[in-house]
Symmetry: C2
Subunit: 208 residues, 2 copies
Amino acid sequence: MEFDREGELVLPAARGKALRLKAGSAVRITNPFGTQAIDTWAFAADDMSEYLSMENVRSFNSVVCIDQGVALVSTERRPIITIVEDTSAGRHDTLLCACNPAIYRELGVKGFHRSCSGNMHEALTEIGRDIPFTPAALNLFMSVRVEPDQTLTRLLPASKPGSYVTLRAEFDVILVLSSCPQDVTTINGPDRTPRDCMLEILAPGAFA
Amino acid sequence: MEFDREGELVLPAARGKALRLKAGSAVRITNPFGTQAIDTWAFAADDMSEYLSMENVRSFNSVVCIDQGVALVSTERRPIITIVEDTSAGRHDTLLCACNPAIYRELGVKGFHRSCSGNMHEALTEIGRDIPFTPAALNLFMSVRVEPDQTLTRLLPASKPGSYVTLRAEFDVILVLSSCPQDVTTINGPDRTPRDCMLEILAPGAFA
């Protein structure tokens, strides 16, 4: 697909990053090992109280996991970002909370451990923004399945090395991405190793 | 089960109510027709930023719907309320957003329509509290099923008339209940009629 590359950066393993995206701009997130979960949030740039809402996405689309074509709506139920390319295994998770300090305590970790929730707040602070809570994240590249008995199974990551997902901003947004720091469970693969991912910023109109 | 009744009130159809519950106190919610969905939130009384979190509940218990025995944990992953009695059909929903103004616009409603989201904020204001967002609600008496293809089916309410759910506060909490005002879809039954429910406040220790 044609596009103009406007910038390129590394999302370091276990770290977060907030990006200002103008309407129509996109970010391509490339997963070199195919194993790295990326917790994703989007906020309206001019009103952080409107944000990508997993509970509204499930209600709007009547699905519990995300593939290209599912409308990623905000708390106002308007599309805020759109998946315009996806070479991953898809079925991105909407059900599990971003990892947070309480989870790592539960898992027996002593002292500080990075978390997606902490990464999100840290990344917003770095661009002078703030929110007083942690919305549910869209967990890209993360595989969870609801069984017929309505229990939930965490699966190993199923995407090929080098697969990518491209998200387009439907209006001016603050996008926050976190390379999940989970190294106790196998949600980032059997070797429990968070990995760097690549971010390419693509010009408005590339995916019109 | 033995208990001391400390108070009784009506939760009017399509309205919300915020209750201060001391640690160990409980509220029994009786559904006279068995059809009324009750959207439920709980906040730590001394710190509203800690609240009952559907995404943490799903993660903590590895389930997507709620029956007695599932730990209803907060954003800090400690139990905040507990279901101590349940004579309903169970399988209470965690997946769908509280109804909100945008949903009613989507459904073609012109002008103001009450919503669970609006009820929650209104009820908090009535007791001098406020939060700047709408957490996902625990949707008591509401039936949603995840299919093998990971789509989501809204079912008719399945509880018998007069069935009840009793929630105990694990520490001092603000509990918010909303009788769902949905009268366009059949989530509150085929006659699309929100109904009054009864609330009984039960003394601390009744369900120790």
